[in-house]
Amino acid sequence: MKKSHIIGIVIIAAAIMIIMSTAGDASTYVDFGQAKELAEDGSKSKVHVVGRLKKDAKGHIVGMQYDPLVDPNYFSFMLVDTNRVEQKVVYFNPKPQDFERSEQVVITGNMQNDVFVADKILLKCPSKYVETEVKPNTTTAGL
């Protein structure tokens, strides 16, 4: 067998290994129900959950707890997933600053002791880059 063939085979093997490993490391988008099932099955793998913040009639966020004076590294809130299931989420970091204005939230983490422990929060603020409103004679229009 020629050397170049051996190299070719090694490269292909490495590529296959990469694909397998990516498939193994890839996380999934789930809802809270599935996240609970996974945790009950003993899985510690981290999942993604897409949800919306629970808001009252006036648009204020409900169930949010952050008191930096007591513990700056504890932030908890209620998230409603796509199946309208509510779940308490804990994030051991300061509250993200533009949290209130976000509409959709993607969290990464897993269920532990009936709370979802998030280690990453991704906020999607629709107004972030595209302004869709203009008012007469204002200096800063925008949502």
Binding site: Y74, P94, V134
Partner: protein
């Protein structure tokens, strides 16, 4: 009044540029035919050149028109309104230009024009290449200009024009129904994170890299097309180097920007936007290596074709990924979907199909050698190196594309919920670290093999010295770090040690190459220099990321919840204003909120500023001095260039050495994005101390003050305010009040109070003004103590005064701080790598111009080295 002329000029020029690109690509195609006679070809070529120049001129006009719209604050145009504002300094107007997608397309188009003109005029050596290469160029320009065309045919929208008027963009807004000529007074401003010098130079550099990738691709295509299968490599090589240099430097500029502006605590986040450029860069560098192999030994031509084509296609794929909105939830970047997905996909597919089809069609004709690869040749090891680079790129590509698989499966009706790995850093590091190890080893071995006579004995001679130095130096560092605490970390992780040793080996091996080339021809050592740069970058990444250390752990012992006591890192610490807290080896004190004032070299405490209705001006309440030099006097009007930025003064004092320094981490209040924090970095020779606020009391939220407590005092009385001792010294009538014009009959009285804080004594001067028969209160707020003192009333008969006191929460910040050991090595490595690339470009460019020197026996030895 609305100025529609400039927009019409711009839009018309886009259309001209588009049409000229079509004409030019057709004419260059005709000029590339091999059947026609020379005269006809020449006239086609002249015509094509003319068309390309028309295209270039039109592009310049488009750029001028768009910049004019931004520069003149023409907010009747959506682009100016959404990306600029009245107070934006001129140098950031340049960033506005490419904040929007249309502008960044324009930037890309502009670089293609520049490179095209250079290629057309680069003398005799590329003459036979001009027609086919420029045909590719014009063809690409056709697609790119279509992105900003902004024409609607039936239901189909082609391109998104940057010259759209507000009233057309927001045709539903009631304002425009009332008054179609309405023009907003101010724009919504540039994204504050982009108001940074690196964001002025990073996008042009990166797009220059994007554009330059087209050159080797165009040459490769021309080579296939005109059956000049091997000849294209020589003229394409310097361009490939140039593209890799621009892409690499552009990426690292972006990384540096992220490091000093964003607050995720590093320079690289494996975000799809970053990966999208990293992948083609790796493949392009791989392509350069296979092209070098071909130049030297006529091997590896097919693989060179594949890699050059792949690097260009991957650039297009990167564009598609980041601009089509397909990434959705996968990235922190919010991408604007301009509805160009279809067009972008067409662009990507057209060139993929064209290139792959041409390659397959001509595959059998591409010459190969029957020479077998042997282990003791430089080519063999360089080839392995290229393979490792491509595999590393492939790994990043496989993971970054996960959202694309979802979309694709969804498109054919399969529901897929795959997400990016939860711990991306771990996932990528697992591969990229080992790729780094292999690259480091291969740069050493490959370079030694490449430059030395290649047999077992002489190779052993060559490698001995670098290997000994490596082992010596590595063991020294490992022992010093583990047993003598010379560094802030212990180098005891075996994987990190492997990367450390191999990178050191790469440095020493390449150094030995440079030394041996010194007395031959230094200009040949570009490769060795670049490889040292890469090895240093690996070392910098290893230390700064591998041993990044958070020093702001919560030491208060207060935990909200004890549900998960051990696993959770509590990385942020709360600092009360003026209360010193122990943090790692420092005593840290937060001193207050500061702001930038024009004409003053340091930030100024907000407390001595009297803010006015115009947020860009303020009035000094005390003399503003820095190092005993007075810059402004009390009552002077000050200009605030960036009122949205607050700088939090944090003093660090090293407990052992007593060394003190001050950092100003920054946070900005932005109406669209909330509060944005940027770090401040203290650079030491061996590490950076990286500090940012992670939370502050919401400045938009009104402070909650306690109920007003009234005190009646006489001159000289001592009272207790919120646990602080205060002395009421007296009152005085004052003539001038900053910001309030006083008429005859108006009276302004100022109380003089002293409050003894924990650290220092504060003077409070609340004001009471009787103006037009009304009483006006100007309370004094002592933020440090959380006190607000109001001067309420005077009883002239009894010589008594009434003051009111409210108390509130003291000011605080929540801080995160970390140490990044030897991050400087990364930046130094980047610079060295760039120098190496420049040397290689210069050398390959000379090489490209020269006829092969094979015929002259005297030059034979050199030719063998050059080749």
């Amino acid at each position: 009044m609305i100025n529609t002329l400039i927009g019409d000029i711009g839009h018309l020029s886009v259309i001209i540029a588009f049409v000229a690109a079509i004409v030019s690509s057709y004419a260059y195609f005709m000029a590339s035919r091999s059947s026609a006679d020379a005269n006809s070809l020449n006239s086609w070529r002249r015509f094509a050149r003319g068309a390309f120049y028309v295209h270039g001129a039109a592009v310049i006009v488009v750029i001028f028109a768009l910049f004019n719209i931004i520069y003149e604050h023409r907010y009747e145009y959506y682009y100016a309104w959404s990306h600029s504002s009245n107070h934006l300094p001129v140098h950031y107007m340049i960033s506005c230009f490419w904040e929007g997608q249309e502008g960044s397309f324009l930037l890309w188009i502009f670089w293609h024009v520049v490179l095209g003109v250079v290629l057309m005029n680069s003398g005799k050596k590329n003459k036979e290449w001009e027609a086919p290469v420029m045909a590719m160029f014009s063809f690409v320009q056709l697609f790119l200009t279509s992105m900003i065309l902004g024409i609607v045919i039936g239901d189909m929208k082609i391109g998104s024009s940057p010259f759209i008027l507000m009233r057309d963009f927001m045709s539903d807004a009631p304002v425009f129904a009332m008054d179609p000529n309405f023009k907003p007074e101010d724009g919504t401003g540039l994204n504050p994170l982009l108001q940074n010098i690196w964001m002025v130079i990073h996008p042009p550099t990166l797009f220059l890299g994007f554009a330059a990738t087209l050159v080797p691709f165009a040459f490769a295509m021309a080579g296939l097309w005109k059956n000049k299968f091997g000849e294209w490599v020589r003229p394409a090589l310097p361009w490939a180097h140039f593209a890799a240099l621009s892409l690499g430097v552009g990426t690292m500029m972006g990384a540096y920007w992220a490091y000093e502006t964003l607050n995720f605590g590093g320079y690289w986040n494996w975000d799809p936007v970053e990966n999208a450029v990293y992948i083609p860069w790796l493949v392009l560098v791989g392509a350069i290596h296979t092209m070098l192999i071909f130049r030297r030994s006529k091997q590896g031509l097919r693989i060179s074709y594949i890699l050059v084509i792949a690097s260009f296609i991957l650039i297009l794929y990167a564009t598609f990924l980041t601009r089509s909105g397909i990434l959705g939830n996968a990235s922190v970047h919010s991408f604007t979907d301009l509805g160009l997905s279809g067009q972008l996909f067409t662009y990507l597919t057209a060139f993929t199909v064209l290139a792959v089809a041409l390659l397959i069609y001509k595959w059998k004709h591409i010459p190969t050698t029957e020479k077998e690869l042997t282990t003791y040749t430089g080519e063999f090891w360089v080839f392995i190196g290229a393979a490792v680079l491509c595999l590393a790129g492939f790994q990043v590509l496989t993971t970054t594309s996960i959202p694309v698989y979802n979309s694709f499966l969804g498109f054919i009706g399969i529901d897929s919920n795959a997400a990016l790995p939860a711990d991306q850093i771990e996932h990528y590091t697992k591969f990229q670290l080992w790729a780094g190890v292999l690259i480091a080893v291969l740069t050493g071995i490959g370079q030694l093999m490449w430059w030395r006579k290649t047999d077992k004995k002489s190779f052993a001679d060559a490698i001995t010295m670098p290997l000994m130095l490596t082992l010596l130096f590595a063991s020294l560092v490992i022992i010093l770090s583990n047993n003598f605490d010379v560094f802030d970390f212990k180098l005891d992780n075996p994987v990190y040690i492997i990367l450390f040793v191999t990178s050191l080996f790469a440095v020493f091996a390449n150094l030995s190459i440079i030394l041996s080339l010194l007395h031959k021809k230094v200009s040949l050592s570009g490769g060795a220099v670049a490889h040292i740069g890469i090895a240093l970058m690996l070392l910098g990444i290893l230390f700064s990321s591998g041993y990044s250390n958070i020093i702001s752990g919560n030491t208060s012992g207060m935990l909200y919840s004890r549900e998960f006591p051990d696993e959770i890192n509590r990385d942020n610490v709360l600092l009360w204003r003026n209360a010193t807290t122990d943090m790692d080896k420092y005593k840290v004190t937060y001193h207050g909120q500061f702001i930038e004032v024009a004409g003053v070299p340091e930030y100024v405490n907000k407390e001595i500023l009297f803010r006015t209705a115009d947020e860009y001006t303020a009035i000094a309440r005390a003399d503003i001095k820095v190092n005993d030099k007075i810059y402004f006097k009390t009552s002077d009007t000050l200009e605030l260039p960036s009122p949205e930025n607050t700088y939090y003064e944090v003093e660090y004092k090293n407990r052992e050495t007593g060394e003190t320094f001050i950092l100003y981490p920054r946070a900005q209040v932005n109406p669209n994005m909330g509060l944005l924090a940027s770090p401040d970095i203290k650079s030491f020779a061996n590490k950076d101390l990286y500090t940012h606020v992670s939370s502050v009391p919401d400045p938009n939220e009104e402070k909650e003050w306690s109920q007003l407590q009234e005190h009646t005092v006489a001159m000289g009385d001592t009272i207790i305010l919120n646990d602080y001792v205060a002395i009421f010294n007296g009152v005085e009538v004052i003539k001038e009040v900053p910001g309030v014009p006083l008429k005859e009959g108006d009276v302004a009285v100022q109380a003089d109070m002293k409050v003894m804080g924990e650290k220092k004594t504060y003077h409070a001067h609340p004001l009471l003004i009787f103006k037009d028969g009304m009483a006006g209160y100007y309370p004094e707020i002592i933020e440090d103590l959380g006190l607000r003192i109001t001067f309420l009333n005077i009883d002239p008969a009894k010589q008594e005064f009434k003051i009111g006191v409210n108390t509130t929460q003291k000011d605080y910040i929540i801080l995160k701080a970390m140490e990044k050991p030897f991050v400087n090595i990364l930046w130094i490595g980047t610079i060295i790598m760039s120098i190496g690339f420049v040397m290689a470009i210069v050398r390959r460019n000379e090489d490209g111009g020269r006829k092969p020197a094979k015929t002259k026996p005297a030059k034979k030895a050199e030719a063998a080295q050059v080749a």
